[in-house]
Symmetry: C2
Subunit: 222 residues, 2 copies
């Protein structure tokens, strides 16, 4: 359903990013949550090449910013939780299910993502420099160790706590971030990512996310 110019919810997104980043900018996670919850939204697109500060409500000059009436939020995790509070499709109503879903939401963002961010720093800030190999050699084994443990927790279940929650949304969004082949991914986690990406809400969010970008002009420097 979602894109609606008159919707009360507004999400900022980038008007242009290099091809390799498309599908991964973090408004994608917010759009996915909104689609799962069945909530319409409008977007405000920002061309960072012209507005390097982005939306000043976002202190790190990034997207997304989420606006809904008097509420202004940033941080995809905070926004995803806020949306999840509105819909049992993302957050179970019982206390145990709720606590478990929120635990996995934070686990994605504070126990998996930081190691991946470290690899991202190496890839971009360390491009062509020897130290980037040192980082990869140290961080990849540590991260793969966590993936094995996560794989054990998932087991043969479809989702981390049996049914899909905002915790799975963020875990799948996190696990699908590194370029394919960067990490040894246990089979059941690879299937878990595919299962997440196959959800109609993910596909609708991805289509809307991609459709909002200006054409990728190869002549424009990344």
């Amino acid at each position: 359903m979602p894109m609606d110019a008159n919707a009360p919810i507004e999400v900022t997104a980038m008007a242009w990013v290099p091809r390799g980043a498309r599908g991964q900018v973090r408004d994608m996670r917010v759009r996915w949550a909104l689609e799962e919850a069945g909530l319409s939204y409008r977007t405000r697109l920002i061309d960072k090449r012209e507005h390097p500060e982005c939306d000043t409500a976002q202190p790190w000059a990034q997207v997304p910013v989420y606006r809904e009436g008097d509420i202004t939020m940033f941080e995809c995790g905070a926004i995803a939780l806020h949306i999840a509070e509105k819909s049992e499709a993302l957050l179970p109503r019982d206390a145990v299910g709720r606590a478990t879903a929120i635990t996995w939401l934070f686990a994605a963002l504070n126990s998996i993502d930081p190691m991946q961010q470290c690899l991202t720093f190496a890839r971009f800030l360390g491009a062509g420099q020897d130290w980037a190999d040192g980082v990869r050699g140290a961080v990849i084994p540590a991260l793969e160790g966590r993936l094995v443990r996560l794989s054990q927790r998932l087991g043969d279940k479809d989702w981390l706590d049996g049914r899909f929650t905002v915790g799975d949304l963020m875990m799948v969004a996190t696990l699908r971030t590194p370029p394919k082949g960067t990490l040894a991914m246990p089979d059941n986690l690879a299937a878990y990512i595919e299962r997440g990406e196959a959800r109609p809400a993910f596909q609708a969010a991805l289509a809307a996310h991609l459709a909002d970008f200006l054409p990728d002009e190869e002549s424009v420097p990344a």
Copy 2:
């Protein structure tokens, strides 16, 4: 108030860590939240030298695990939010204040902490290796840039949104993690950290956290 062997809330903590880690293990953040909320808790102490898997409810073989009736949680951010839901001392009841506090909670854990974790990897995994200097040279400027932006958002206020919330608790806990002198800390952020550490609830949590450790025997390898 807090430590009470009969309390319904249980928090796991380490029975022993090297001296340099004392005051920083993440049960400290949960204890602080419980003290702010005025909730009693009991601890279950685990000696990781004898039980390397720690509490198996924690998938990364770490602490804390939080138990309360049927609820079992890990991830300090998820637990802090769960506690904050119980007390207006940590989470404003109005929608805007609540959304803002939760935004800062996630900002600490997903926009500041990952860069710091990258420096921690360099410090421990890269000790004595050239690549650790490369990481520091790339990540410290990026992180210090965020600290400047955070400093601008704090301005001359005592707390990020005027009054103390769970967002400040996690931001202070995050900012106080790197060894002193690692980062150029803007003056108002340095004062903000001191203000957080001066709170009676922080001091009570720190005293209980430190009191739970076995003696630091220098002969035991870290």
